[in-house]
Subunit: 421 residues, 2 copies
């Protein structure tokens, strides 16, 4: 596409989104929930055309060098279609954060001060080639009163278009603006750069996917960015840990779903229990197919382990590799996490309450976990109902971001003639 | 200063602030409050050297073209010194937002999910030549667990240094890191540009002062910015308003302190009551010395009024000028506010609850006021105890920002061996 044409296209997208977002501010909860439920039904009803569109994408992807894991994520199985519909129904069941009264007080002069939830406005959402995310993100953004501009991975184009068409049709039926959910209609990557400069019409960008994409978005965007770069999640096993609990927690964190951001990537073991714990743990990890990269003390105890480099300690493997370090105690563990961690999720296994408290206080991560798997840093698991992503920043929302994290608030001051004296 | 020297100086400032902020994370409430109270006492005890330093600044300012209003702001009177000390004591009395448990729930699997307040980290605060702000900002930032780098207006240099020396001395006495409150030691403006690029060590910048300074900071900063550009605050007087209440609210909003961001700048009057209301209102405004710039209908009724341009409707006068427009009803008032407003504070005077509700729902401003003065959009007035500024953005905090708005949170997940299934 020629540059002026592309500029026009992006401006139209952003302007339409802004107009839609203004109408959404006063859309009723009923209207939004009716849309969510009708979309869920339509997705189930139209599973055949959706799967046909998805087949086109999957067949094309098989002819490229896409990994088996990514082809799996691209594929809409019957179970995934059901899960998508179910996800929309769950969002419909969540309380509406818009209009929600978050604070309500009367000042000594009789002025009533209320703080109520309002939408952010327009959200630009970039994501990987997982067509179910089109539906999840659309549902969450609109329930929180925001218009969303979706830009999915190019490999999922046909699937995304089929799903997006359903969401738009149902928006019209529910009496909501159809531009509440728009899909960037071109694959031209320059469109992303243009949209990232439109901070007069786009209020927030949420990039998901590889670290390099996220870094590019954060560098180029003129509006706020909700993001995390990496999840290099640690488990520290203290000398006073229940070692069989520690083993279960590490196996779960590493192996239950190794490709996600809250998977465990690095293990720190107190020297006092390393001799007893490591050989037993590694036997289980070996069975699960996990490769160990460790410090000299680890390698001494585990002959099959290779020596870890600093790059290994900094790595988010997203696969069956675990970096291991034997430490002299909590201070060294904290120092290691500060140096190599990504402020996402870090866990301690200990039976000692004081050690747990110190770990919790001193680890500066979005979620700090005591005696449980790092995999629990997730919107659904902590009770948000659903999530659009996880933030490792401290400004605005931190950790898993659900409906409420996609909103802002305003103050309503109601009086009967009060003036300042 | 040579560029490499300046770069070194700024890096040292930022690194020292970061180190101090890490120690502040675990500082006790007691320690922070002891510092606030001791600083208050020291300011009162050392009023003579402080006033001597301030005299140097004021004498120098008198030899420049600084306005009388600004010289007044620069001057530390005995009453202002007392108010500064009193402000610190009030912050000491406020609850500590750090460690505060904001949510606490147990999931069906027994995992306890807590959300607790944590500091943002390092704040870079730029402000006008008002030495009392040095003390207010230092107190708020440190109580919220943050290290702060202060950069006040150059005209207040001697006053700021004297006050900063007291705050630092008392930090040492309280066992807190003295780098928790630092003053940029050079007047070289290039230092600001360098600090705005240090997002690896500075977590937030808060610029206060003229719009051009704030725009420059927002454009250059690589970290988040808490800000508002303007306060072009409207009052809309509905046809069903108590007109004597409306008069009091407008006089208060315009005249009580015309130079501040929540002063009323623009009046919208329903056509049905304009004939009755405007002449009476303008008689009072005339007594108060207020100049009127109005639409043709206003000028018809008020012969002394001049015709308002679009620039007048967009202006934040910060002085005794009021723009006035007669409108056909709520839709035109809303449209005018959308076009010319700054999303800061807008008020309606009406006795009709439905009209008030519609105004509140459709005006997209940080504070929407019903039947009270726009001057109430203020941290102290709404019950925050104190404020560091007012935000018109929707990301992170909106409206008046007090202690809690200077913090973030983290999740603490506590289990007894839970794993994901």
């Amino acid at each position: 596409m020629l540059e002026p044409e592309l500029q026009n296209l992006c401006e139209t997208l952003a302007t339409q989104a802004q107009t839609a977002s203004r109408a959404l501010v006063t859309a009723s909860t009923q209207q939004k929930d009716a849309w969510l439920l009708a979309s869920a039904e339509a997705i189930e009803r139209q599973r055949d055309p959706i799967r046909a569109a998805n087949d086109t994408d999957v067949s094309a992807a098989r002819r490229t060098d896409m990994s088996a894991a990514n082809i799996d994520r691209l594929t809409l199985t019957p179970a995934r279609l059901r899960a998508m519909a179910e996800g929309l129904r769950q969002v419909a069941a969540l309380p509406d954060p818009i209009g929600e009264i978050r604070e309500d007080a009367v000042r000594p002069n009789g002025l009533r001060v209320q703080k109520i939830g309002v939408p952010l406005g327009v959200i630009f959402f970039l994501y990987e080639s997982r067509p179910n995310v089109t539906v999840d993100a659309g549902g969450l953004c609109v329930k929180a009163g925001n218009a969303v501009i979706l830009r999915g991975g190019k490999e999922a184009t046909h699937s995304n278009r089929a799903l997006h068409a359903i969401l738009q049709r149902e928006l019209a039926t529910a009496g909501l603006p159809t531009d509440a959910v728009q899909l960037v209609p071109t694959l031209d990557r320059a469109a992303v750069g243009l949209l990232l400069k439109m901070d007069d019409r786009i209020d927030l960008v949420i990039p998901r996917g590889g670290e390099s994409l996220i870094r590019r978005v954060a560098a180029e965007a003129t509006m706020p960015v909700l993001k995390h770069y990496q999840g290099n999640c640690h488990v520290y096993v203290d000398e006073r840990a229940d070692l069989s609990m520690a083993e279960r927690i590490i196996l779960n964190g590493k192996c239950q779903r190794p490709g996600v951001c809250n998977a465990t990537e690095s293990l720190l073991v107190h020297a006092a229990i390393a001799g007893e714990f490591l050989p037993k743990l590694v036997a289980s990890l070996r069975t699960a197919g996990v490769e160990i990269r460790g410090c000299p003390q680890t390698v001494e105890r585990i002959p099959e382990a290779t020596l870890a480099t600093d790059a290994d300690y900094a790595a988010e493997f997203l696969g069956l590799i675990l970096s291991v370090k034997v430490v002299t105690g909590l201070p060294e563990a904290l120092e290691h996490i500060r140096r190599f961690g990504s402020k996402h999720t870090d866990a301690i296994v200990t039976a000692d309450a004081a050690t747990a408290r110190e770990f919790v206080a001193k680890v500066d991560s979005a979620a700090v976990v005591v005696n449980a798997s790092t995999r629990f840093n997730d919107g659904f698991e902590i009770g948000l109902g659903a999530e659009i992503g996880i933030s490792t920043d401290k400004f605005h929302a931190r950790g898993p971001c659900g409906l409420r994290e996609l909103t802002s608030y305003k103050y309503i001051l109601t009086g009967n003639g009060q003036i300042r004296v």
